[in-house]
Amino acid sequence: MKEPPIATFAGVSWLTAASEHAKHVDDVILGLVGTSVAVILFLGILTSVILVRYRSGSRAKRPPLSLATWKIETAWTLGTLAIFLYFFWRGAVLYLDAARPPPGAEVIDVTGRQWMWDTRYPDGTREFNALHLRLNTPVRLVLSSEDVIHSFFVPALRLKQDLIPGKLTTMWFDPDRTGTFSLYCAQYCGSAHASMIGKVTVLAPHEFDAWQRSAGARTGALALAPEARGRELFAKFGCARCHGGLNAAGPSLAGLYGTRVRLSDGTFALADDEYLHEAILHGRKVAGFAPVMPTYSGIIRDSDAADICTYIEAMKTAATP
C-alpha cells in the first residue's frame, strides 16, 4: 500500500497531490503553517525576552504603560480577525467549488458496507476496494451505505465524504496525476474499520481503456450497468404505472433530472440525487399531484435507489419510458 513518495524525510514519505484541488488545499495549508510559525516565533521570542528582562529581582525599569489598554485590545482583536477572515474566505471558496461537480462528469456508484468498498462503473464493471480512474477526467461518486456510517477518504485528493445510511451523498474530483493512491474509511465503522481500505488507481487514457476492456470482460457478463439495473428495478417496482407520462397519477420523469421541481407547498427543490433518493424512498408532494405515492423505505435498498437515480438521470434527454 505504498504511495509514490515525492519526498522522503527522516523515514517519512511526503504526500502526493493528485488533483488541482489538492494543490489548492496544500497552498492554504502552507499559508496556515507559515502564519502559525510566524505567530509562534513572535510570541516565543517576545515571551522569552520578557521572562529574562522582568524576572523577579532584575533591575529593569517597570514604569506603567503609557498607551491606553483599550487601544491595544482593539488593535490585536481586529488584527487577529483580519487574518482569520482571510483563511475563512480561502477555505470556504475551495469547499464550495468541491461541492459543485462540472457538467458531464462520469458517475460511479460506490457503496460502503462493513467492511468493504463496492464500486460500480457506468459500463457495468464492478470491483471491490478499488477505484480506477481515467487521467484528467472529472468523475462524480454517488455514495451510499448499507449499514453504518463510513467515510470515503483519499488523502492524495485531500477529499473525504461520509456515507450515510438512508441517504445518497456525492463527491467529485478531477485526478491529474497517474499512480496508485490509498483509500481509507475515515469514519469508525466497527471491528475491521482499519481494514476497510483500498486503492484508487489513476491511469493514462490508453491504459484506462485497456483496463476497462479486461475488467469489463471479467465482470460484464455477471453485472449490469447501474443505468441498466435501474431500468430493471424501475420496471420491477412498477414505477412506470404512475410515472408513465401525461395524465398519469405522478409526474413524468423524463428530462426531470437537474430541473427545479415545484412542490405543493409552493417551494422549489432541485431534482438531484438526494432529492430523487428521498422521493423514491419516502415520496415528495409535487404541485399538481395528489400525495398517493407509497413509501418504498425498507423495500428498495439504498444501492438500488442509487441505480434508479442513475437511470432517471439517463432519462434527462430520453423520451417517456
Binding site: L43, L51, S58, V148, I149, F153, P155, Y188
Partner: protein
C-alpha cells in the same frame, strides 16, 4: 480588607472518620473527594492510552485485537472526557476555591453539592461496570446507527453512566451559578471578581444548558437500542445526522467546559507570579463570556464532511473563526501581563507557561480545522487527535496541574517540594510535545483515527509518539508521589505563601470548616498588587 488570621477554628481536615468524609457538606471536603475520584479515573483512562500507544508503536503490533483496541479508545475517550476532564477544574478546584475566592462560607446548596459527587460516583460505577463486563466499542461519540443497532458492546450501561454523571454536572453547575450570584462577599462586585471565578461561572452556564441535551440524546439512542427502532433509524426515515447535531450541540460546548476553567486558573497564576494585575481585565472577562456564548453556535464544524448543507458549513466555519478571536486575545493578554512584572519561576508558573505555549499551538491548529477545505482533508485523522489533545491536555490538564500546585498550600497547609515540581512540569511539557506533535504530521499524511493497525509509511512518526508517551507517563507519575509525601512531610505553608491577592489567601492554610470567622469586606479590584 479585614484579614482573618490563623485560629479561626479547627482545620477542615481535622475530623478523619470515613463517615465524616462520605457525609460531609463542606465544599472543601467535597472538592477533595472529587480529587481522589478523578485521579482514580485518570489512572484508568491513562492506562488505556498507554496500551493504545504500545499497540500503535508498530504497524501491526499484535498487543491487542481490533475489538480490544476499539474498546480501549472508547474507554479512554469516555473516562477522560466525562470522568476526568469535565469534573477536573470545576469540581475539584471550583469546589475548593470558589466559595473561598468570593468570601462565602460554603456553596449555596451544600447537600446538592454532595449529591453531585454521589451521582458522579454512581455514573462512574456504571461506566466501570460496562468496562468490566466486556466494554463498549462505539467510540466516545456513540454515533448511530452503529451504537444503536450494530455494536455488540455494553452501550446501555456506559450511556447510563454518562447520563447519571451528567446530572451530577448539572447540579454542580446550578450550585455554582447561584453561589456566584447570591453569596459574594460585601463589596465584591462583578468586575472585582477574580477571572477564575468568572471562568467557573461561564463554565457552569454551559454545564446547565448543554448537558441536558446530551442526556436526551443518549436517552434517544438508548431507547432506539432497546426497542430496535427509533428516531435516528434510517429504515423508518430517521436521520443519523440528527444524532450528530444533537450530540455536538452538547459536545462542542463541552470542550469549553474543559478549557474555560483552565483559562481562569492561568490568569490567576500569571498575575500572581508576575505580581501584577491581569492586563485588560475587562477584555478577559468578556472574552470568557463570549467564548461561552459563541461556543454554542459552532457545533456544525464537526460535520463538514457529513453532507450537511454546504452553506451551513460556511456559516459554522465563520462562527468557528469568530470564537477563536477571544481565545487569541487571551494569549496576548497573558503575555502582556508578564510584561514589566516581577516574574517568579515557580512550578505553577512553569505550568502556566506550558499552557500558553501548548494552547497557542492547539489554537492555531484549530484554525486549520475551521478552514473548510482544509478540514475536509484533516477531519477524522490524527491531526484532529493532536489538535484536541493540545487543547484538552496541553491546555486543560496543564492548567489543572498548575492550579493544584498553586492551591496545594491552601488545600494541605503544606508546601510541595519545589525542585521536584519543576522537574515534573518540564517532563510533562517535553513528553507531551513528543507524543502529540508527530500526530499533526501523521494526520496531514492521511492516517485516519481509530485504526488499530496502519500502513507501513506511518511507522516512524507513530514510534516517536509512543516514545513520547513514556516520557509523559513519567511526568504524570512524579506528582502522584511527591504531593502525597508533602501532605505529611512538606514544610508548613503560611496563610499566603505566594503573596497573592484573592480572598482565599485570607483564610487559614488549611482553612477552618466555614472558611472565614468574619465575612471579608472587599474594597478593591482583583489583582491589586502594589506597584513594582
Amino acid at each position: 480588607m479585614i484579614a482573618s488570621e490563623q485560629g479561626d477554628g479547627p482545620s477542615y481536615l481535622q475530623e478523619s472518620t470515613v463517615r465524616s468524609w462520605l457525609g460531609t457538606l463542606d465544599h472543601k471536603r467535597i472538592g477533595i473527594l472529587y480529587l481522589f475520584t478523578i485521579t482514580f479515573f485518570f489512572a484508568i483512562g491513562a492506562s488505556a492510552a498507554a496500551m493504545m500507544r504500545i499497540q500503535l508503536a508498530y504497524p501491526a503490533a499484535g498487543l491487542v485485537t481490533s475489538d480490544a483496541y476499539n474498546r480501549l479508545f472508547t474507554l479512554h475517550g469516555v473516562i477522560m472526557v466525562w470522568f476526568f476532564l469535565i469534573p477536573s477544574i470545576p469540581a475539584v478546584l471550583g469546589n475548593f476555591v470558589l466559595p473561598l475566592a468570593i468570601g462565602a462560607r460554603d456553596v449555596a446548596f451544600p447537600r446538592l453539592n454532595l449529591a453531585s459527587w454521589y451521582l458522579f460516583v454512581g455514573g462512574g460505577a456504571l461506566a466501570l461496570y460496562s468496562i468490566l463486563v466486556g466494554g463498549v466499542d462505539t467510540g466516545w461519540t456513540f454515533y448511530t446507527p452503529y451504537s444503536s443497532t450494530y455494536s455488540n458492546g455494553h452501550v446501555m450501561a456506559m450511556a447510563g453512566g454518562i447520563f447519571v454523571a451528567g446530572f451530577g454536572s448539572i447540579a454542580t453547575g446550578i450550585n455554582f451559578i447561584v453561589t456566584v450570584h447570591k453569596l459574594r462577599a460585601p463589596g465584591l462586585t462583578w468586575f472585582r471578581l477574580p477571572l477564575f471565578v468568572w471562568s467557573i461561572y461561564a463554565t457552569s452556564i454551559i454545564l446547565v444548558l448543554a448537558t441536558p441535551v446530551l442526556a436526551i440524546t443518549l436517552t434517544l439512542m438508548a431507547l432506539e437500542r432497546v426497542a430496535g427502532v427509533g428516531i435516528f433509524d434510517p429504515r423508518i426515515g430517521g436521520d443519523p445526522l440528527l444524532f450528530q447535531h444533537l450530540f455536538w450541540f452538547y459536545s462542542h460546548p463541552a470542550v469549553y467546559i474543559m478549557i474555560l476553567p483552565g483559562m481562569g486558573v492561568i490568569s490567576e497564576l500569571v498575575a500572581c507570579f508576575s505580581k501584577k494585575a491581569v492586563f485588560g481585565y475587562h477584555a478577559m472577562a468578556f472574552s470568557i463570556l463570549s467564548i461561552a456564548g459563541l461556543g454554542f453556535l459552532v457545533w456544525g464544524h464537526h460535520m463538514f464532511v457529513t453532507s450537511q448543507s454546504v452553506y451551513a458549513g460556511v456559516a459554522f466555519s465563520f462562527l468557528s473563526f469568530l470564537v477563536a478571536v477571544p481565545s487569541a486575545i487571551k494569549v496576548f493578554n497573558w503575555v502582556a501581563t508578564m510584561h514589566r512584572g516581577a516574574i517568579e519561576f515557580t512550578t505553577p508558573f512553569l505550568y502556566a507557561l506550558g499552557f500558553i505555549a501548548l494552547f497557542t499551538i492547539g489554537g492555531l491548529t484549530g484554525i486549520f480545522l475551521a478552514t473548510l477545505a482544509v478540514d475536509v482533508h484533516l477531519h477524522d485523522t490524527f491531526f484532529v487527535i493532536a489538535h484536541f489533545h493540545y487543547i484538552m491536555v496541553g491546555g486543560g490538564v496543564m492548567a489543572y496541574m498548575g492550579g493544584i500546585h498553586y492551591w496545594w498550600p491552601k488545600i494541605s497547609g503544606r508546601m510541595y517540594p519545589e525542585a521536584w515540581g519543576r522537574v515534573a512540569a518540564v517532563t510533562i511539557f517535553v513528553g507531551f510535545n513528543l507524543t502529540f506533535f508527530p500526530q499533526y504530521i501523521l494526520g496531514y499524511l492521511g492516517m485516519p483515527r481509530r485504526y488499530w493497525i496502519y500502513p507501513e509509511q506511518f511507522h516512524t512518526l507513530n514510534l516517536v509518539s509512543s516514545a513520547g508517551a513514556l516520557v509523559l507517563a513519567i511526568g504524570y507519575i512524579l506528582p502522584l508521589i511527591y504531593l502525597p509525601w508533602s501532605f505529611f512531610k512538606g514544610a508548613r505553608a503560611g496563610t499566603n505563601p505566594w503573596g497573592a491577592t484573592g480572598l482565599e489567601w485570607l483564610a487559614a492554610s488549611p482553612p477552618a470548616e466555614h472558611n472565614f470567622r468574619e465575612t471579608p469586606v472587599v474594597t478593591r479590584p482583583a489583582y491589586d498588587y502594589p506597584p513594582l
